[in-house]
């Protein structure tokens, strides 16, 4: 699998937020998209998930423009979790996760063993088997986010796109979410592309980083090549020193 953007321009109302972007995401990697507010990170993720039509250029999955593909077939190859989704009132975790099976189920076709298995696996991956019958609004923020991740894992697509999956979570739960994604990535080869805010966590948990600036790409590549003082100044206008993280040896940003 590979996902590429070809001369991709994105925008609203004739105003482009991204212009002529060429990126390649390869299989089995964990990639984080970083950049200042309003630089079009979420817009880029939406375009890669066919939720927003490009104003120019293409998003190509395995050689085919995603906007020409059948949306249901595509849903078996990529799953997306939007930012801060809203749960229907009173829905249980199990019922929510079941809805992840939508692209695999035909009209009126019954629930199959493989559907149960996928849901069970997804709940196990986020360690929520014990909470399956609980209504989702009764859960803590971290548990709720794990339930949503279980939904997209149950979708069983080899590519997972996440829009700010750690926003609104405290540090412990941010690490919990990123660790479980990393584990899934290592165990099943799931490709994970997420929009993140925390530079240091992104560096720890990513194979590749994409750093966006105003209307353009600043840098893309392994964390130690992307998170440099010069790139941070360019993308964020941030004066910072970058030292190796004493625990993981990944780059650590220290604002000056």
């Amino acid at each position: 699998m590979s996902l590429t953007t070809v001369d991709l321009s994105l925008g609203y109302d004739d105003q482009n937020v991204i212009e002529g972007l060429n990126l390649t995401f390869s299989k089995g990697q964990m990639v984080s998209i970083l950049g200042p507010n309003g630089c079009g990170k979420s817009t880029l993720l939406k375009a890669m998930a066919r939720l927003q039509k490009p104003s120019a250029g293409q998003v190509v999955l395995d050689g085919v423009d995603i906007n020409t593909r059948d949306t249901r077939a595509l849903a078996r190859e990529m799953a997306i979790l939007p930012q801060a989704p809203l749960a229907p009132e009173g829905i249980s975790v199990a019922d929510l996760v079941k809805r992840g099976r939508t692209p695999w189920r035909g009209f009126l076709s019954p629930w199959r063993d493989e559907d149960s298995k996928a849901c069970h696996d997804a709940l196990a991956a986020v360690q929520m088997q014990d909470l399956a019958e609980r209504p989702i609004n009764e859960l803590s923020g971290g548990q709720r986010q794990r339930a949503w991740i279980a939904l997209v894992l149950a979708q069983n697509a080899p590519l997972l796109l996440l829009d700010e999956p750690t926003t609104f979570l405290d540090l412990v739960h941010q690490i919990e979410v990123l660790s479980l994604l990393r584990k899934r990535n290592k165990e099943t080869g799931l490709t994970v592309i997420s929009v993140l805010h925390d530079l240091n966590l992104a560096a720890r948990y990513s194979d590749q980083l994409v750093l966006l600036g105003h209307k353009r790409l600043v840098a893309a590549g392994p964390p130690n090549q992307v998170l440099t003082a010069a790139n941070l100044l360019d993308a964020f206008g941030l004066k910072a020193r970058v030292d190796p993280d004493p625990v993981t040896n990944t780059p650590m940003v220290i604002p000056l």
């Binding site: 609203y12 939406k46 998930a49 066919r50 939720l51 949306t71 249901r72 077939a73 595509l74 849903a75 078996r76 990529m78 799953a79 997306i80 979790l81 939007p82 989704p85 809203l86 749960a87 229907p88 009173g90 829905i91 249980s92 019922d95 929510l96 809805r99 992840g100 939508t102 692209p103 189920r105 009209f107 009126l108 209504p135 997209v152 979708q155």
Partner: protein, 325 residues
């Protein structure tokens, strides 16, 4: 004390009470005798006077309730209901137009066209290029379309002869007076088919309930799925209007009320609860309207209005507190 059994018991009890009570009350024995032997005053009540009316109210309430529950789930807003968004008023207007100009067409068809035109107007006015309008925008624009339809209906009454106008005015409030078995079979058959059609779309609704982005990510063609569900729900409401008039607030109240009564968690369960509660509200409203004041038969819509308007106010204040308005 909640669950599907509780709801079914209440429905059965209401049907029996609706057959017994009215301007003149029967004893249960007389009712039983009439139903088993087919003779006596009980039989007259069941077969001719109250029977068809109660069965019609049951069916009309159920389709209105289901329509409301569908819209509320689809737009993820408890205020989204066909009576608030003007679709029932649109259906009512179409019927008044047909009567006023002597157009001879089947009432359910006329009501369906009216409901769909009203929905089309709301969609057109709220249309924005590129993204779907916010539910609240739909509700407010729908409210306007509804008021306009009602005003036009009232205006058209002036074209009718005096006694016809009084009858039509009554019907516009929402009334089940003088319903016969043809009304009952009509609402049950058309309503049954539309209910099946809507249940065929439950998986789409389950995905749409998670929001448009997630639904699209799950492989739904969001626009098409929304239109199909909205269309089915509008037709359900119009089916109710065709036999009971644009009775207010039943569709609005039924969904949340039904869920409270059955405690349903599954989407199908919630929809059935909405239908059950709608039937319950309309039958009780009709019963109260004809039995409350001796010698006076009010339209059922007066009762649902008395019940529904405070509910709407309570709902509005709750939504405001939750910051949704």
């Amino acid at each position: 004390m909640r669950g599907p059994v509780f709801m079914i018991c209440l429905l059965c009890g209401t049907v029996v009470a609706s057959l017994i009570f009215g301007q003149s009350s029967l004893s249960i024995a007389t009712l039983w005798e009439g139903m088993t032997t087919g003779t006596g005053p009980g039989a007259l009540m069941v077969n001719t006077i109250r029977g068809p009316r109660v069965v019609t109210a049951f069916g009309a309430g159920a389709v209105l309730g289901l329509s409301g529950a569908l819209f509320q789930a689809l737009f993820r807003n408890p205020l989204a209901a066909p009576d608030i968004m003007g679709f029932t008023s649109g259906a009512g207007l179409a019927i008044i137009i047909a009567v006023a100009f002597g157009i001879n067409a089947p009432m359910p068809l006329v009501a369906a066209i009216g409901g769909l035109v009203a929905a089309g107007c709301v969609a057109l006015i709220t249309h924005q290029k590129g993204h779907a309008p916010a539910p609240l925008t739909l509700i407010l624009v729908g409210l306007g379309v509804g008021f306009f339809s009602s005003a036009l209906s009232t205006f058209l009454l002036t074209l009718l002869a005096h006694n016809e106008a009084a009858e039509a005015q009554r019907w516009l409030t929402g009334s089940l007076a003088a319903r016969d078995w043809s009304h009952a079979t009509q609402v049950w058959i058309i309503g049954g088919v539309l209910t099946a059609v809507s249940f065929g779309q439950m998986r789409n609704l389950a995905a749409l309930e998670l929001g448009p982005d997630l639904a699209a990510g799950l492989g739904l063609r969001v626009g098409a799925a929304r239109w199909l569900l909205s269309g089915t729900a509008v037709l359900l409401a119009a089916t109710g209007v065709a036999v009971a008039g644009p009775v207010p607030f039943v569709a609005l109240m039924a969904g949340p009320m039904g869920i409270r009564m059955t405690g349903a968690q599954s989407l199908t369960g919630k929809m059935l609860s909405g239908a059950g509660a709608g039937a319950l509200v309309l039958m009780l409203a009709d019963l109260a309207a004809r039995a409350a004041l001796p010698g006076v038969q009010l339209p059922a819509g007066v009762m649902t209005g008395i019940l529904g308007a405070p509910y709407l106010l309570w709902r509005l204040s709750r939504e405001m507190k939750r910051g949704e308005l």
